[in-house]
């Protein structure tokens, strides 16, 4: 207990954004390998689907979305005493670009963070990409579309649906990370799940607020950008 308080205090003195993502060693090699495999398969499929459907008019939006998510992930916000959280951005990317181009954005962000900024280990990068990117872009987007359907269409429900999906994506990401930690034998599964889910239930509120604010800002300033995601689908129709 005292050790943990001392640890938190020592961490708190550090300025600027802390190293945020799981470092190597947090997951066992077999679990990290499985997560890499899943991430590679999903990424390859995302490349294929993006190549089939992505409209070139959406390329600048893809770049800007990636840049914004990278910057926003640096901005740790205070949650409760001694703990911070930051945006993941998967739902935001998927709402703007669709799940497949959105996945590629998240792969690029997490890869650059690991390779250039030493934020997140290379062995566990597959898990980091899956947890923070793919869960939000594929899972979060599926939730978003379902909610839009229930709430009377994307036009009307975009912001609340994205908020709920964003919150859930963080919750699911935390659950996945806890599961991987437990299966790796790093810590007790139930204890990890309880701790990760409870703190990320709060961090997810930040994810929802930032996601909704970004979409609201685009809705006010450049609502036409929302049309780029399905640009080719509409052109072909």
């Amino acid at each position: 207990m005292f050790a943990s308080i001392a640890g938190v205090a020592a961490e708190a003195t550090r300025l600027g954004p802390p190293q945020l993502h799981a470092p190597d060693g947090f997951l066992s090699v077999p679990i990290a390998a499985v997560m890499w495999l899943i991430t590679i398969v999903v990424t390859a499929y995302a490349v294929k689907r993006t190549n089939e459907t992505f409209d070139e008019r959406a390329i600048p939006l893809m770049g800007v979305t990636a840049a914004f998510i990278f910057a926003a992930q640096m901005f740790n916000f205070q949650v409760v005493g001694g703990t911070s959280g930051h945006l993941l951005g998967g739902v935001l990317a998927a709402v703007l670009l669709g799940p497949w181009a959105g996945t590629l954005v998240m792969v690029a962000v997490v890869a650059v963070q690991g390779l250039v900024f030493q934020d997140g280990g290379l062995v566990v990068m597959g898990a980091n990409i899956f947890n923070m990117g793919i869960i939000g872009t594929l899972g979060g987007y599926a939730i978003y579309r379902s909610l839009c359907g229930v709430l009377g269409g994307e036009q009307r429900a975009r912001i609340p649906a994205a908020g709920v999906a964003a919150w859930l994506s963080v919750f699911l990401a935390a659950g996945a990370m806890a599961l991987e930690l437990g299966l790796s034998g790093t810590t007790d599964l139930v204890v990890a799940l309880t701790a990760m889910l409870s703190i990320h239930a709060l961090i997810g509120i930040g994810e929802a607020l930032i996601t909704m604010a970004a979409l609201a800002f685009i809705g006010v300033t450049r609502p036409d950008l929302f049309g780029l995601r399905d640009a080719r689908a509409r052109a072909a129709a």
Partner: protein, 116 residues
């Protein structure tokens, strides 16, 4: 540079005209840079969700140091203070934007309409 600007594709109303329309992505990158500058100054230095769980449950020390360093912890080596993080952040924004932009260029389909 005009090829960077997407042809307006809004389903109904035409988007507003002017610089912000054509080069809106520059404004988008500027917003990202502002976020990075704010992060360098105001971001919480407390451990994030995973890190604080790791500290609490005593497995933080199993985390290994990276085997190499480029811009570790969002800083420029040899440069102190927030300016180091600001520059590192802007470098990161540029790298991520260019990487994803080029990826999009390679993967995206040209429109059927040659006028685009």
């Amino acid at each position: 540079m005009s090829d960077l600007s997407p042809t307006p594709s809004g389903p109904s109303e035409a988007p507003p005209k002017g610089l912000l329309t054509r080069y809106w992505w520059v404004a988008g990158l500027a917003i990202a840079a502002v976020v990075a500058i704010l992060a360098a100054n105001f971001a919480s230095g407390d451990p994030d969700g995973l890190d604080s769980v790791a500290i609490e449950q005593g497995f933080e020390e199993v985390g290994q140091e990276p085997g190499f360093q480029v811009l570790p912890d969002y800083t420029i080596p040899g440069l102190d203070g927030t300016v180091s993080t600001i520059i590192a952040g802007i470098v990161g924004i540029a790298i991520v934007f260019l990487l994803v932009y080029l990826l999009g260029r390679v993967l995206a389909r040209r429109r059927g309409n040659p006028a685009a």
